[in-house]
Amino acid sequence: MRTKKDKFPDILIISYYTGHVILGIAFLMLIPAVTSLCLSEWNPLLDFIISMNIAFILGFILMFIGWKTRDNMIYMQWKHGFVIASLSWVLLMFLCAVPYMLSGHLKSFLDACFDVMSGFTTTGLVLTQDLDHISIGLNMWRHLLTFVGGQGMVVLALSFLFRETGGAYKIYVGEAKDIELVPNVKGTARIIWKISIAYLIIGTTALWVNGMMIGLKPLSAFFHGLFMFESSWSTGGFAPMTQNMLFYHSFSYEVVTIIFFILGSLNFGLHYAIWQGNKKELVKNIETRSFFITTFLACVLAVIGLAKLNVYPDAVAAFRKVVYHVLSAHTTTGLGTVYARQFALEWGDFGVVILIIAMLIGGSACSTAGGFKGLRVGIVFKGLLADIRKLLSSERRVLVFKFHHIKDHILDDVLVRASSIIIICYMALFAIGTALGTYYGYPVLSAAFEAASVTGNVGLSIGITSATMPAALKIYYIIVMYLARLEFLSVFALIGYIIGGMKKLCQRPLQE
């Protein structure tokens, strides 16, 4: 009997839906192209026309290859969803790097891919040269990538391009977003976009007005406001100027970005619950509790540590430099108001270690943030407490432990184990990154700082990330950013799929 699986080989399903996602990004390139057109930036306009056409052609070819599978999303399996999500990210990295490369501001295509992956994964590390002289069109593209990357490219494609939603949930989960705000996954994707667009309008306006108040010209203040909002909300860390947040020299501008990167690091489910009037969720949710406890502890410890070294002169400076960076690290944003080298030269080992821990913990699950996520930290911590309580209570007593995350959940061993495994995977990436950094001659603490920054998709740098760093380190960082953002499963599925395909290819001649 012929099943649907036989009828539609995996490659066709993957090809058709990956083509859709690529088409979505090709349409997205219209925004920087129009920006360049309006501002008479002719070279960037041509760069985007070329890049957009390459994406359109590839997207249509992939859709054409998988044409037979159209309107049969219902037959999509989990493996397809995971492979589509992870493969789309790889292909989009190459496609989105084209306008970067054509701009002439990157030293190599590898550097361009690094910056794109850094944007997509909302990391925020930069290898683009002479950022202060790049076009507004390219800046629009950089920040748009980080904004879309935060919500997820697949979420974008699901919202606007897919008609059917039967198997869409599997692609959606493949992009490390598993929350169901409404029963329909397309509806959930659209709600995520509605929340983000509402904040985009509020945030850009707030930063625009603030920008004019601190001395920026109205048009320039608008673009700075838009870019800095996209960067803050997506916990991205990009900025239109090389100095990042230090360019503005403004306390009020820093405070506005703090508000939006904290909001961006919270779970979309939490935003939706509050939007629906369930304000108690903010206090009851295990993730927000975990986030606020670890943030408070990290801030206090970092302030005490740096006060001991007399690094900053007063409380205002301590807030603007220490608390700002701890919050930026913990929410995995990566916006900064100090020079990268100041961490290494002035912060001392203790301050750097606190930042490393904060970067690894990260923000909330199903948000724009990276890191282990507060939810997993909370679950593992509660699991530990539960084990201790079980040890101390009578064997005959059956104890049931619960935690609250949007709704009440029973804390079982499977959940604790799953959370622990993901944390171990993150720690493995961090450990390998640190070892690789030390292999290339960087001091161990600096190597650990940079490894934590890429593992947590943060973007703060201690000075290692530069165009001159070894190519192997760049490639490793790209892989880590990618794995960490997609939370491993999808990428493992893609690797498994490729290995499986190669095995089949090798076995076929032997069988014949």
Binding site: N53, D132, I136, V316
Partner: protein
């Protein structure tokens, strides 16, 4: 004769004991200030770099960020000094190169711990200018050809679809 001798002695004394008067103040690369913040903290320094972005006026003063080949730093200067700058570096402009003498702060108490320079003397060392954008013909040709291919592929796809 004795007047000439006294003159030579005076010039030598100035050159030896007052180097700041005898010579122009040495330009320090911005990255050297970042790398040796504690050593330079509170000292008068001279730096030189391209004015970037725009001046951000704050009352009687303004922030101007300057860039040299090694790094970028904010300079807090009088509004009148900032107004002397005609071009700021961006995509369409090469900014004025300015020379600033002033006090360097590793963590400025007045500005929330920013590493900055409070400019005392600001002068324009080199005038900036608009950058003429040259569009490559090759890019135009590639763009047109790719657009035509896209239209064909899209047309073919939608024809099959219907």
């Amino acid at each position: 004769m004795s007047k000439t001798f006294a003159g030579i002695i005076l010039i030598l004394a100035i050159a030896i004991f007052c180097p700041a008067i005898g010579y122009a103040q040495e330009i320090i690369p911005l990255n050297e200030l970042v790398e040796n913040g504690k050593a330079f903290d509170g000292k008068n320094v001279a730096v030189r770099g391209e004015a970037l972005g725009e001046a951000m006026e704050r009352g009687e003063y303004a922030w101007v960020n300057i860039s040299d080949p090694t790094n970028i730093m904010g300079v807090w200067m009088k509004k009148e000094d900032a107004e002397k700058i005609a071009f700021f570096g961006d995509y369409k402009h090469k900014g004025d190169i300015i020379k600033v003498s002033g006090a360097f702060h590793r963590a400025c108490a007045e500005h929330g711990g920013d590493m900055d320079i409070h400019g005392i003397a600001v002068e324009i060392a080199e005038q900036g200018h608009p950058v003429k954008e040259e569009v490559e013909t090759r890019k135009i040709v590639v763009g047109v050809v790719l657009t035509l291919i896209t239209l064909c592929v899209a047309g073919f796809y939608y024809k099959i679809k219907q």
